[in-house]
């Protein structure tokens, strides 16, 4: 069974007097162990799609199934809490906390089982994305962009979720740093059997992924290439 699947996803935005169709009956599916990238022109609707599968917004019609169950039934809040991790382009870390605390915020919110020594677990996860204990205890604003994004990834995976959703996570980073981040995502998919879904503008990055979904602005639907 697909871990994530959309059924006739339909979404519009108001555009003057009319409504502009952003997603027109989208049917796509995602599996564990694969690294997906989403490409598409600016303004085509990539972020919109991600916010729907991340349950940050509600589709007008259609369904999103997680392990075959509609996320509406699971409950949006619970789905976000226990089933997915989100990584944003602008990191979205809590500025007055250090890296460790940022990760532990998510860990203490989820209902998924965490290790008894939550702090040690968090430090290990941070270590796995390249944040050592010194940096883990530093305030967020004293970390570089790349480091902050690693913390954000650590936060997204800290709750033992199977799905990682990322919107242009390397958009603010230089080439070398981007590569390291992409590397982390690849490893998450291939070594830890996660389903990673990532929006990017870079064909080069897309080439490194297992499946590319291209949002066509004529049809407002995806063309899938493996």
């Amino acid at each position: 069974m697909n871990i994530l699947e959309t059924k006739n996803l339909y979404f519009t935005y108001p555009d003057g007097d009319q409504r502009k169709i952003i997603l027109n009956e989208v049917n796509v599916s995602f599996d564990k162990g694969k690294f997906y990238t989403i490409l598409g022109a600016s303004g085509s609707g990539k972020t919109t799609f991600l916010s729907l599968i991340a349950a940050l917004d509600k589709p007008e019609r259609g369904e999103i199934l997680f392990n075959g169950e509609a996320i509406e039934k699971i409950g949006y809040e619970k789905y976000r809490r226990d089933d997915i991790g989100i990584v944003f382009q602008s990191y979205n870390l809590i500025p007055y906390m250090n890296s460790l605390e940022n990760v532990m915020v998510a860990m203490s919110i989820t209902d998924n089982e965490m290790e008894k020594d939550m702090k040690a677990q968090a430090l290990r996860i941070l270590e796995s994305v390249g944040i050592d204990e010194n940096k883990a205890k530093r305030r967020i604003n004293r970390l570089s962009g790349g480091e902050q994004q690693r913390v954000a990834i650590a936060r997204a995976i800290s709750t033992n979720v199977d799905v990682i959703i990322a919107d242009e996570p390397t958009g603010n980073l230089d080439g070398k740093t981007s590569e390291m981040i992409i590397d982390i995502f690849k490893k998450l998919a291939h070594e830890q059997n996660k389903c990673v879904i990532m929006v990017t503008h870079s064909e080069k990055i897309a080439a490194e992924s297992d499946v590319v979904l291209k949002l066509n602005t004529d049809t407002q639907n995806f063309e899938v290439t493996s």
């Binding site: 972020t47 976000r80 989100i86 979205n92 007055y96 906390m97 860990m107 989820t110």
Partner: protein
């Protein structure tokens, strides 16, 4: 990391935000607490003055007597007693203490100094003791109930004696018989009225009790030369005296009974059950007494005459405290809206990781509540200083030295002669528990009104909208 810990981190680490909220609240709180203290203190002082004066009223008569005097006098007396009885029937009335009195009597058989023998007494005074017949309309005189006098021997009246006007009296305890014997309860004594060495009327009364005045009475009334008896009894005596005088004066062709003492009503006091009834009672009684010969006056009149400045202060402080309250809600709403908007992304993050909405609200409410309430409570100290100088400023502003203050008020209704000066000399602001409770309630409602709306609005919005702004 629970919401509680998050809020604590935010308070301690966002020092500038915490500081701004704290300082603003402190300034606002000082204004709010000082004006509130002023307002509540004035209300309290108002209530104290009213309580001290008590819910009392009286009717003074300013009757113009025409000729023939006897007829108009009877008319006056009937009218006056009717007015008083009518007022006394009001259910708000606790009692109407009405004393008839009749002067000019004496007793040949008793004297009023138990410390010396009659022989010594007579050598000094040579005269029979003049007595005032002093009436009561209560079987146990109000003066006894209010600890102004006590019955030291014998008993009070019975209802029947009061209603029928039995010939029974209470005698001051220091009286003694001329034969140096003590007066016994049950003894009959003689009262007489004498004119031009002629005895006009003799009247037998029975002593049923002895009394002693133990506290001051209104208008410095002294009971030591009074025999107390039912009002009805005095009416009987007065009637008998008038008749006796008529037949006597016929014989010597005198005029009407202008020349002899007439029954009168002294210091009637109407006390209400509750101070809150006074205003309404005052209004109704004033309406009832359209007759210009009688003037109703109550503790309200005294209050109006002496408490004007407190009323003005109270009015101004009410205005000040409400404007402090409203402006604090406006200003703090702005600040908290800013405070929360600045942390929109943070709220978005909590939503993105699936935090429950009520916990997000708890965190922010806890943060704001903690800072605001701490600040509000510390501002009490500043408020205390400010309210002191505020009250002084207000007083200076309100007291017009060119206006003469009323110093003399109705002694019957204001026996302690409380004046504007006594009020001002005892003026003090109070920060008692009722002030604290009202202040806590006020500051909590300022918090609730200013913090919850922006917060609820924010949490009600979609996470995507919050994150994408």
């Amino acid at each position: 990391m629970k919401w509680f810990k998050r809020s604590w981190l935010s308070i301690t680490r966002n020092k500038i935000k915490t500081g701004i909220l704290f300082l603003t609240t402190f300034i606002i709180g000082s204004f709010l607490s000082s004006t509130l203290a002023l307002y509540l203190s004035n209300e309290q002082i108002k209530a104290e003055i009213k309580n001290k004066l008590g819910p009392v009223a009286t009717v003074h008569s300013y009757y113009n007597f025409d000729e023939p005097y006897a007829d108009t006098y009877d008319k006056y007396f009937d009218e006056y007693t009717m007015i008083l009885e009518k007022l006394a029937q009001n259910p708000a009335v606790e009692y109407a203490n009405i004393h008839y009195s009749l002067t000019g009597f004496a007793s040949p058989s008793i004297y009023d100094d138990s410390t010396m023998s009659y022989q010594d007494y007579e050598a000094m005074n040579k005269k029979a003791v003049p007595l005032i017949c002093y009436g009561t309309n209560y079987s146990m005189p109000i003066e006894v109930q209010e600890y102004k006098m006590e019955i030291t021997d014998g008993r009070g009246f019975t209802e029947e004696e009061i209603n029928t006007g039995a010939n029974v009296i209470l005698l001051p305890e220091n009286y003694k018989r001329n034969d140096n014997q003590a007066i016994q309860i049950g003894d009959q004594i003689q009262l007489y009225y004498k004119k031009d060495q002629q005895i006009i009327l003799e009247y037998q009364v029975k002593v049923i009790g002895k009394f002693k005045q133990i506290n001051q009475l209104p208008q410095d009334m002294n009971l030591s030369d009074c025999v107390i008896m039912p009002n009805q009894t005095i009416e009987h005596i007065s009637l008998s005296l008038n008749e006796a005088w008529l037949s006597f004066s016929d014989a010597i062709s005198h005029g009407d009974h202008y020349d002899i003492p007439q029954i009168s009503i002294s210091s009637p006091i109407i006390r209400l059950k509750n101070i809150d009834y006074l205003e309404a009672f005052h209004e109704r009684a004033t309406l009832l007494l359209k007759n210009k010969n009688y003037v109703f006056s109550s503790a309200s009149d005294i209050y109006d005459a002496i408490a004007g400045i407190i009323e003005n202060m109270s009015f101004m402080s009410k205005f000040l405290v409400s404007s402090a309250f409203i402006s604090s809600i406006l200003i703090l709403s702005l600040i908290t809206t800013m405070f929360i908007r600045l942390r929109k992304h943070e709220i978005g993050v909590y939503m993105a990781v699936g935090e429950k909405k009520n916990r997000i609200i708890f965190q922010f409410i806890h943060e704001i509540l903690f800072i605001m309430l701490l600040s509000f409570n510390l501002s009490l100290l500043a408020g205390k200083q400010i309210s002191n100088s505020l009250s002084e400023e207000l007083m200076d502003f309100l007291i017009d030295p060119n206006i003469q203050t009323i110093t003399q008020t109705d002694e019957l209704l204001n026996p302690e002669q409380i004046s504007r000066d006594t009020i001002l000399n005892n003026y003090s602001l109070s920060f008692d528990s009722s002030f604290l409770i009202v202040y806590e309630v006020l500051s909590l409602s300022v918090f609730t009104l200013s913090a919850s709306f922006p917060l609820i609005y924010l949490v009600k919005s979609k996470p995507k909208d919050i994150l994408s702004e």
